[in-house]
């Protein structure tokens, strides 16, 4: 079970000029992974997401879902849409239904499911994102910003994707909203074994939630591995305009100053525990 990119290249053409967005990129997303994708603006992240969902086709190379080429004739676009859910930035801008339920049903109905199945999956998705029953028949435009975002997410979850791909799911949300969205993603990941890939510009969020981190630069994957390992490369990340989480930076400075640290700590929680242990104090 995997979603794979093999030697993929992609170009954008505008006004006769051709710009390369992805350069011979290969990548594999297994089942039940939780991946943070980071990179500067223009590094090819958005293009990569759109390739995974079949919105764009690679110029060279192949996209494989469970080993089957998604460009093959017998592979329908709808199947890909349903199995690889893509949530764009500010997904609430796509809401259009007269009621919340109706909007969430749009996706599964497009997949040609039975009416009962459509309804069930819509209710389940709304429950998953924590939209109460009192809001089901409200116009999505009447909701608050955070609620809209969650309804829009439900619109993709209702299609029961195996892979969920999100472009900056937290952009424009307040800290409480960010935490809510992330808790929800974590729950889906743990309870439904959903493989999740999210783009984020917040290294703190990536350190906190992602198990695996992929770093992109100029259309290539330059680093790919466990979050803890990736954030060791402070210098290298800075060279490509990125940084490591505040905590990792702080711990690196401490180590440079001679503080004996063995482990790599990337979240505040870990750092506290690590320092306390070092001091011979018990961790609460």
């Amino acid at each position: 079970m995997s979603l794979q990119l093999k030697n993929v290249s992609f170009y954008y053409e505008s006004g006769g000029e051709r710009k390369q967005a992805l350069r011979n990129l290969s990548l594999e997303i297994g089942s039940n992974e939780l991946i943070g994708l980071v990179g500067q603006t223009g590094s090819g992240k958005s293009t990569l997401l759109q390739l995974l969902n079949g919105l764009e086709r690679p110029w060279e190379g192949r996209v494989l879902l469970d080993g089957r080429d998604v460009a093959a004739k017998d592979f329908s676009r709808k199947e890909l849409c349903g199995r690889v859910g893509l949530v764009f930035q500010y997904p609430e801008h796509q809401l259009f239904g007269a009621t919340v339920v109706e909007d969430v049903q749009f996706g599964p109905r497009n997949l040609g499911w039975e009416p009962l199945e459509v309804e069930l999956s819509a209710f389940q998705a709304l429950k998953d994102v924590g939209i109460g029953e009192d809001l089901l028949d409200v116009s999505p435009l009447a909701l608050s910003g955070g609620q809209k975002r969650r309804v829009a997410l439900a619109g993709v979850l209702a299609m029961k994707p195996e892979y969920l791909i999100l472009d900056e799911p937290m952009a424009g949300l307040d800290p409480a909203g960010r935490r809510e969205v992330f808790q929800m993603l974590l729950k889906l990941h743990r309870e439904r074994n959903m493989s999740i890939l999210f783009v984020s510009h917040s290294m703190e969020d990536v350190a906190e939630y992602a198990e695996r981190v992929i770093v992109m630069h100029q259309g290539k994957v330059v680093l790919d591995g466990a979050a803890r390992q990736i954030f060791r490369f402070e210098k290298e990340l800075e060279q490509i305009g990125l940084r490591v989480p505040q905590t990792a930076r702080f711990m690196h400075r401490l180590r440079d100053d001679g503080f004996p640290l063995k482990e790599e700590c990337i979240t505040p929680q870990e750092a506290v525990e690590c320092i306390l242990r070092q001091r011979g104090k018990s961790v609460r």
């Binding site: 849409c81 764009f88 801008h93 796509q94 809401l95 749009f106 497009n110 435009l141 993709v156």
Partner: protein, 268 residues
């Protein structure tokens, strides 16, 4: 998808024509277009084509680029040519079944097609050499005197420039929403006309919502900067006629005089 559409077809180079005051170009284009309706002689067309060629050369816009404006009206032109060719009374030139081609029809077809082509080329040359903002500025000044009759000239010009400003933004937004809905399995390309219209709803509703949201934001931002309409408002770059502009007006008058003289002297 619709990313290929380009509106506001300004061709960005520096040329004598580009630097002219937009009022000259607007009035000049208008005069040129009217002049095309004042004659039917080929001698007149020779003068009109020559004048257009001169302006085009001065503007540094490649002909192939200017001719793109003809594409959308091609069907209209073919249709008019067809009608004129077959449905004009006169001496029969030759027959195709029930359809008769007359000399008069042939003549009419040629001069009406020429007239249409020159009309489109002339007006597209104006939009190619003038930015949309300059155009609205020029229009605002030309219609300025109407303020006396309480016509909201400034407000109309402001609306026009805002509308123009929003076109690329809305195109981008359309692309984005289209992609988002496609990712949810929406289909914008198949089905009959009615189905397709229905399928457009998930695109149109968010687009309208977003347009209204952007308009509200813009209104607030303008209000926050104390925008209060045209009264007492000055411009950073006020339009002012320069020597070249008067020369251009002179050329325009010369063109009309020559045109009239040629049409009067040559009977064909």
């Amino acid at each position: 998808m619709i990313r290929d559409i380009t509106i506001g077809q300004y061709y960005s180079v520096d040329s004598t024509i580009h630097r002219l005051d937009p009022r000259v170009k607007i009035l000049g284009t208008l005069a040129y277009m009217i002049s095309l309706f004042t004659f039917r002689d080929f001698a007149g067309y020779a003068v009109a084509v020559l004048f257009f060629a001169l302006v085009l050369a001065l503007s540094k816009v490649p002909f192939s680029y200017a001719a793109r404006g003809l594409k959308p009206i091609f069907i209209l032109m073919a249709f008019t040519a067809f009608l004129n060719l077959f449905w004009t009374d006169g001496t029969v030139f030759f027959r195709v079944g029930a359809l008769a081609v007359t000399w008069e029809g042939l003549y009419k077809m040629i001069y009406i097609s020429l007239r249409l082509i020159l009309l489109v080329l002339g007006s597209s040359l104006m939009t190619l050499t003038t930015t949309p903002n300059q155009l609205t500025d020029g229009l605002e000044r030309i219609f300025g005197p109407l303020k006396v009759f309480r016509v909201p000239v400034h407000e109309m010009a402001m609306m026009m420039s805002i509308a123009l400003r929003f076109i690329p933004i809305l195109i981008e937004e359309t692309n984005r929403i289209m992609k988002a809905q496609t990712a949810r399995g929406a289909d914008f390309e198949s089905g009959n006309l009615l189905q397709r219209l229905r399928n457009m709803l998930p695109l149109l509703i968010p687009l309208f919502v977003s347009a209204i949201r952007r308009a509200t934001d813009l209104a607030l931002a303008m209000d926050a900067r104390c925008y209060h309409g045209g009264a007492g408002r000055t411009k950073m770059y006020p339009l002012r006629y320069r020597v070249n502009d008067f020369v251009a007006y002179g050329c325009l008058v010369a063109y009309i005089v020559i045109l009239r003289a040629v049409v009067w002297v040559c009977p064909w």
